[in-house]
C-alpha cells in the first residue's frame, strides 16, 4: 500500500519514443486506471512501474523512496500479466507459493498464506491442479492470488480481462473491485476498454501516443473531457470542426457550415476548434437555454431501448440518442428535424491534429 509518483518519464526504444514525459500521482489505496488505445504507452508505463523496463529519463517514486533504479524483484510492485504467465510445470499451489518461497517463509506460513489467497479468489480446493486444467477465469484468479499472496505494495493489472469472454469479464471486473476494497490496496489497472475503465476505477488517466491527456474521475473524464482525443475516445460522440468567430471573455460564438452558435464557453487560444456534443444530450424537444439546429433526417437506427437519429445539417451528420418512444417511432428519413442542445452540454475544445 503505497502512493506512486512518476516524474517526467521518457522511454525510448531505439528511434521510437514510447513515452514523452509522463507525470502521474497514484494515491494510496485507490484503483487507478491507465486507459488508451493500443500503442499509447500504457503498458510501457506499467512495466516501468513494475521494474520490468527502465525509463530513459525521469524518476519513479514509491512513497518517498526513489525506486527508478531498483530491479523488479526488489520493488514489491507485483504485476498480473495479460496472459496470466502461470508456470505450466507447477501446480496451482506451487504457482501461488512461489513468491513466498523466494521470501524464505517457513513451510507452515506458506501453506497458511496460500490457503488465504486461494480463498480470497474463491479457488479453494484447486491447489493440486495444473494451469492447463483450469478455465480462463480460474487461471486469472490464480494469477491474482499469486500476486496478492506476497502482500504487494502495489498491484499492477495489465489488461487482465481481455482474454476472457464477455460474461466472465463482467464477473471478474466486480471480483477485482471487491478484492481491492477488501484489502484496501493500491491498484494500477491498464485497459483499452473505456467502459471497463469507467466501471472499475476511482481515477483514470487517458493516454495517447506517449502522453497523458487527462487525469480524473470517470465522471470528469466523460463529462468534461479536456481534449478532443479524450472526448472522442470516451464513447460515441459528435465531434464537429468549427471556428471561433467572436469572443467576449470566455463567451464565444462558434460557426460551422452555415450554423452560428452563440454564447458558448471557451477559454482556449486557438480559433480552430471542435464542438463536442454527446448524442444523449441532444433533445428532439425544445429545452431551456438551448441552441436549435434545423436539418433533415438521414437515418434512424433502432437499438431496442434507445434509438439513434442521424440528422444532416448542411454537410455535417450529427447523431442524437433518445429513448425509444412512440413519438420517435414515426421519424422517417428525409423528414425535416430539429435538434435542441443545451449550451451547457456543448463543449468547445481546441482542435487537435
Amino acid at each position: 500500500m503505497v502512493e506512486v509518483r512518476l516524474e517526467n518519464i521518457v522511454k525510448r526504444f531505439g528511434e521510437t519514443v514510447a513515452l514523452k514525459g509522463i507525470s502521474l500521482h497514484i494515491k494510496h489505496g485507490e484503483l487507478f486506471t491507465l486507459l488508451g488505445p493500443s500503442g499509447c504507452g500504457k503498458s510501457t508505463t506499467l512495466r516501468i512501474i513494475a521494474g520490468l523496463d527502465y525509463p530513459t529519463e525521469g524518476k519513479v517514486f514509491f512513497g518517498d523512496q526513489d525506486v527508478t533504479n531498483l530491479s523488479s524483484s526488489d520493488r514489491g510492485a507485483v504485476l498480473v500479466f495479460q496472459n496470466y504467465a502461470l508456470w505450466p510445470h507447477m501446480s496451482v499451489f506451487d504457482n501461488v507459493a512461489y513468491g513466498l518461497r523466494i521470501r524464505k517463509l517457513p513451510k507452515g506460513e506458506v501453506e497458511k498464506r496460500v490457503k488465504w489467497a486461494l480463498e480470497l479468489v474463491k479457488l479453494q480446493g484447486f491447489e493440486d491442479r495444473y494451469p492447463t486444467q483450469l478455465s480462463g477465469g480460474q487461471q486469472q484468479r490464480v494469477a491474482i492470488a499469486r500476486a496478492l499472496v506476497v502482500e504487494p505494495k502495489l498491484l499492477l493489472l495489465d489488461e487482465p480481462l481481455s482474454n476472457l469472454d464477455a460474461k466472465l469479464r463482467l464477473e471478474m471486473r466486480s471480483e477485482i473491485r471487491r478484492i481491492q476494497r477488501e484489502l484496501g490496496i493500491t491498484v494500477l489497472y491498464v485497459t483499452h476498454d473505456q467502459e471497463e475503465a469507467m466501471a472499475i476505477s476511482d481515477r483514470i488517466a487517458v493516454m495517447n501516443v506517449g502522453t497523458v491527456e487527462q487525469v480524473g474521475s470517470p465522471r470528469e473524464i466523460y463529462e468534461h473531457p479536456k481534449t478532443e482525443f479524450v472526448a472522442s475516445f470516451m464513447g460515441k460522440t459528435n465531434v464537429i470542426p468549427a471556428k471561433v468567430t467572436e469572443r467576449e471573455g470566455d463567451r464565444v460564438t462558434v460557426e460551422f457550415e452555415s450554423f452560428r452558435l452563440e454564447g458558448l464557453t471557451y477559454s482556449g487560444e486557438k480559433d480552430d476548434v471542435v464542438i463536442v456534443i454527446r448524442p444523449e444530450r441532444i433533445s428532439l424537444h425544445p429545452v431551456e437555454d438551448a441552441i436549435t439546429l434545423e436539418g433533415t433526417v438521414d437515418l434512424v437506427e433502432y437499438y431496442g431501448f434507445f434509438v439513434e437519429v442521424i440528422g444532416v445539417f448542411g454537410e455535417r451528420r450529427i447523431i442524437a440518442r433518445t429513448i425509444s418512444t412512440r413519438e420517435v417511432s414515426v421519424i422517417r428519413p428525409t423528414q425535416p428535424i430539429k435538434f435542441y442542445i443545451r449550451r451547457d452540454d456543448i463543449l468547445v475544445l481546441p482542435k487537435q491534429l
Binding site: 523488479s72 496472459n83 504467465a85 508456470w87 512461489y98 513468491g99 499469486r146 500476486a147
Partner: protein, 736 residues
C-alpha cells in the same frame, strides 16, 4: 540509467553477470575454437618465405595447373576388356577439370541430384495418400541413418564391375559397368545426402497454408501449373536451404573420396587433397594445405551466406500461419500411381541399399571354401600397379597390390572341382629365382581383402595388401614386375565363399580390445562434447532469444557458423593454430610425444555439432513466453533462480532432444576424427579406425560395417528416446 554500455551490448539496462556470461561464454568459445584457428590458417596461407604473398593461391588458381584445367580426355566413359573373360567393361569416372573445379562440379551435381530426389519424395509424402504410404514413410527413415565410409563402400560395391547393376546389364546386354572416380563419389554422396533436402522440403510443403493453393485452384490453376506457380515457389526457401547444406557437405566430404581412393581421379578433389597432403606429410605441413582449405571455406561461406540472404528475403511461406490446418492430400491418379510404384519405390529401395548393405556386411561371415590348388600358372596382364622392385635380394612393393589374372585348378569340399580363372588383387610371399618371380608359401586368409564370388565357374577375387618377399637376384639391378610372367604355387587359397549369418564381427568389435578402445574413445569424447554443447546452446539461445543487444546478431550468426565451415577446414585450422599457440602441449598436433587427440576432438565436436542443439534449444525458448520469466522476477526471484526454476524446466525436453542430436552427429564426425584424431591411434575415435580399414588392407571391412551398425543403433535409440520422451518429431538437419 547511465550504464548504457550494458544495454547497448547485452540488451539489459543494468549489467547482469548471468546475462553477460550467456553472451560471452559462447562468443569467446567460438572465437577461440572456431574463428581464430581459421584466421590463423589464413595467415599461413598468405605467407611464403616469411613474407605476405599470394604464392600459394597463385599456384592453385593458375590455369592448366593441377587445380584448374581442361580435361585431357572428354569421353565420359572408357571401355576396357575384362581380364580373363574378355567381356567389355565400361568405366564411368567423370572428367578431370582439375582439383578445384572437380570439387565444385561434384558438389553441384550432388546438390542437383539430391535436391531433385529429395523434393520428389517430399512432395509425394506431403501431398499424396496412397496404399503403402506407411512403407514409404518407414523406408524414407532409413537413408537418414549416418554410417560414414561403409555406406559409400556399399555404393562402390553395387556399382563395381561385379556389383548388382553391372550384373543386370551383363545379363541383359552382355557388357559390364563400373562407376568409379568422381562419378562414383557423386553417386555415393547423392544417395547419402538427399534426405537433408527431403526433410527441409517436406517441412516446407507441410507448412504451406492450404488456402494459398486453394485460392490458386479457385482461380483456375491446377496440376503442374499450380505446382510451378504457387506450391514450388512457396517451398523453395526450404528446399534451397537443404540444397545448400548438401553443397557444403559434399564439398567437405572425405568418406566417399577415401572409399574410391584406389581410382586416381577420385583423389583429384579438394577434400582428399587436403587430407592426403596432411596425412602423408610430416611435421609442419605445406601452407598449400591451408590455402586449399581457405578456398574450400570461401566456397562454403558464399553458399551459406547466399542462402541466408535468400531465405530471409523470402519468409512468406509462413505468412498466413495461424491456427492448425490439415494439409492438402489427394489420391494419385492412375498415371501418378504408376510413377509411384514403378519408379519411386525402386528408387527409394535403391537409396536404402547402403544401410542395408552395411547391416548385411556386419552380420555376414564369408565362409571360405577351402580349396587345394596346385599348379597355378598365373600370368600378369594389363596394368600392374604399383610396381615393385628388388633391392638387395628383397622384393618390396608399396602398399596396395597388383592386378593379375591366372587359372585356378583344384577342388573344394563343397563344390567339387573348380576350374576357372582367378583375377584380382593379390598378396603373397614372393621369391625371385633366375629372373623368374615365384610365389610360394601359405597365403593366409587374412591377407586377402575383398569379396569373392562365382560367375559361370569363374572365381573372381579382389585382393589387396602389401607384398614383401625375399629372393635371389641373379641378373642384378631392378626387376620391374610390370611385364613379368610368373609361375605360382598356392595352397589353401580361399577360392570361393558361402555367406552365412554371423555375430562374429559384432563380437570381434566388442571383444577386440583395439576396436573396443575406439568405441570407448568416441563415446567419451562425444559425451564430454555434448555437455559443452548443452552449456553453449543454453547460454547462447537464452541470450539471443531474450535480449536485443548489439551482440545479439553477432552471437546468432556465430552459433550457426559451424554449419558453414567444412570439417576439414576446422581440422587444419586446429592443426596450425594449436601448434602455434600451444607448442609441446597435449594440444599440439605436431608434437607426437605430447599430443592427445582427446582435447582437440572434444573441442572440434563441441564446435561442429553445436548448431544442432542450439537450434533446438532456441526453438524451445521461443515457445516459453517472456512473461513467465518476468512474473518470476517480479515476484522477487533473481535471474539465476528464474532461469533454473522456470526456464530450464520448461525447455528441458528441447535441451534433451538437441543434446541427443548433437551426440549422434558427434559420434559419426569424420573430418577432424580421421585427420587430427588418427595422429595418435591409441586415442583415436571410431571414424579414424574406419578410415584405416578403408585405406589399408590390414583391417576388415566387416568390422568397419559392424561399427556402422553400432552407429545406426545409437541413432535409432536416440530417435526413439527423443520421440518417446519429448513427443516431438526428431528433426535431423535443417537450416534457417
Amino acid at each position: 540509467m547511465k550504464s548504457n554500455w550494458s544495454e547497448r551490448l547485452f540488451g539489459t539496462p543494468k549489467f547482469e553477470p548471468l546475462v553477460a556470461t550467456s553472451y560471452l561464454f559462447p562468443l569467446l568459445y567460438l572465437l577461440f575454437f572456431l574463428i581464430i584457428p581459421v584466421l590463423a590458417m589464413l595467415a599461413i596461407a598468405f605467407t611464403y618465405n616469411g613474407s605476405l604473398s599470394l604464392h600459394w593461391f597463385r599456384e592453385i588458381f593458375s590455369f592448366n595447373s593441377d587445380y584448374i584445367k581442361l580435361p585431357s580426355t572428354w569421353s565420359l566413359f572408357q571401355s576396357v576388356k575384362m581380364p580373363g573373360t574378355g567381356e567389355t567393361l565400361y568405366i564411368i569416372q567423370g572428367l578431370d577439370f582439375g582439383i578445384v573445379l572437380n570439387s565444385i562440379i561434384v558438389a553441384s551435381v550432388v546438390t542437383l541430384l539430391a535436391s531433385f530426389i529429395g523434393t520428389i519424395f517430399a512432395f509425394l509424402m506431403a501431398r499424396y495418400t496412397f496404399p503403402g504410404k506407411n512403407l514409404f514413410r518407414i523406408l524414407l527413415f532409413i537413408p537418414l541413418l549416418v554410417t560414414p565410409f561403409v555406406s559409400a563402400y556399399v555404393v562402390q560395391q553395387i556399382f563395381s564391375e561385379y556389383g548388382i547393376v553391372s550384373s543386370i546389364l551383363h545379363a541383359l546386354f552382355g557388357f559390364r559397368v563400373r562407376v568409379d572416380g568422381l562419378a562414383g563419389i557423386a553417386l555415393a554422396q547423392s544417395i547419402t545426402y538427399y534426405p537433408i533436402v527431403y526433410l527441409n522440403a517436406y517441412a516446407s510443403f507441410i507448412n504451406i497454408d492450404p488456402s494459398l493453393e486453394e485460392q490458386a485452384e479457385n482461380l483456375g490453376s491446377r496440376g503442374f501449373h499450380l505446382f510451378r506457380t504457387v506450391t514450388f515457389p512457396l517451398a523453395l526457401p526450404g528446399i534451397a536451404a537443404g540444397a545448400t547444406l548438401v553443397f557444403i557437405f559434399s564439398l567437405e566430404d572425405l568418406a566417399a573420396p577415401i572409399v574410391f581412393h584406389s581410382n586416381d581421379l577420385a583423389k583429384r578433389i579438394m577434400s582428399y587433397q587436403i587430407f592426403s597432403k596432411f596425412l602423408f606429410g610430416t611435421g609442419e605441413r605445406s601452407p598449400l594445405i591451408a590455402a586449399l582449405a581457405i578456398v574450400m571455406l570461401t566456397l562454403a561461406i558464399i553458399a551459406f551466406l547466399g542462402i541466408r540472404k535468400y531465405v530471409s528475403l523470402r519468409q512468406y511461406a509462413m505468412l498466413s500461419k495461424g491456427g492448425r490446418w490439415s494439409p492438402r492430400v489427394s489420391k494419385p491418379r492412375i498415371g501418378q500411381a504408376l510413377i509411384i510404384y514403378l519408379l519411386l519405390l525402386p528408387l527409394l529401395l535403391f537409396t536404402i541399399t547402403p544401410q542395408v548393405g552395411v547391416v548385411q556386411l556386419a552380420f555376414t561371415e564369408q565362409h571360405r571354401i577351402v580349396t587345394n590348388v596346385t599348379d597355378i600358372t598365373a600370368s600378369v596382364t594389363g596394368v600392374m600397379y604399383p610396381t615393385g622392385s628388388i633391392t638387395n635380394g628383397t622384393l618390396v612393393t608399396p602398399k596396395g597390390g597388383w592386378f593379375f589374372q591366372g587359372t585356378v585348378k583344384g577342388y573344394s569340399d563343397s563344390i567339387g572341382v573348380i576350374n576357372g580363372s582367378i583375377s584380382g588383387f593379390f598378396v603373397g610371399k614372393v621369391t625371385v629365382n633366375n629372373g623368374e618371380v615365384k610365389l610360394t608359401g601359405d597365403i593366409s586368409y587374412a591377407d586377402f581383402q575383398g569379396l569373392a564370388s562365382r560367375y559361370n565357374g569363374t572365381i573372381h577375387t579382389q585382393m589387396k595388401g602389401p607384398i614383401t618377399g625375399t629372393g635371389e637376384l641373379l641378373s642384378g639391378g631392378t626387376v620391374n614386375l610390370t611385364s613379368t610372367r610368373f609361375k605360382a604355387t598356392m595352397f589353401n587359397i580361399p577360392a570361393g565363399q558361402v555367406s552365412k549369418f554371423s555375430f562374429n564381427y559384432v563380437k570381434q568389435m566388442i571383444l577386440t580390445p583395439d576396436v573396443r578402445r575406439y568405441i570407448v574413445n568416441s563415446l567419451l569424447y562425444s559425451t564430454v562434447a555434448v555437455i559443452l554443447i548443452v552449456l553453449l546452446s543454453i547460454t547462447s539461445s537464452y541470450a539471443t532469444s531474450r535480449f536485443k543487444g548489439a551482440l545479439t546478431p553477432v552471437l546468432e550468426s556465430i552459433v550457426i557458423l559451424p554449419m558453414a565451415v567444412p570439417g576439414i577446414v576446422v581440422a587444419m585450422g586446429y592443426f596450425y593454430f594449436f601448434h602455434l599457440v600451444f607448442p609441446g602441449t597435449p594440444l599440439d598436433p605436431i608434437s607426437p610425444a605430447t599430443f592427445n587427440p582427446a582435447y582437440v576432438l572434444i573441442l572440434a565436436y563441441s564446435v561442429r555439432r553445436l548448431p544442432f542443439a542450439a537450434r533446438s534449444v532456441y526453438a524451445g525458448l521461443q515457445q516459453v513466453h517472456v512473461s513467465l520469466e518476468e512474473a518470476s522476477m517480479n515476484l522477487g526471484a533473481s535471474r539465476w533462480k528464474t532461469v533454473t526454476g522456470i526456464v530450464l524446466p520448461l525447455i528441458s525436453l528441447n535441451v534433451f532432444g538437441g543434446a541427443m542430436l548433437s551426440f549422434v552427429y558427434a559420434m559419426s564426425e569424420t573430418s577432424v576424427g580421421i585427420t587430427l584424431g588418427s595422429l595418435n591411434m591409441a586415442k583415436a575415435p571410431i571414424t579414424a579406425f574406419m578410415k584405416e580399414v578403408l585405406l589399408s588392407a590390414a583391417g576388415s571391412i566387416n568390422i568397419a560395417a559392424a561399427l556402422g551398425v553400432l552407429l545406426i543403433t545409437v541413432q535409432i535409440i536416440s530417435i526413439v528416446l527423443v520421440n518417446v520422451i519429448t513427443k516431438q518429431r526428431y528433426s535431423f538437419i535443417g537450416l534457417s
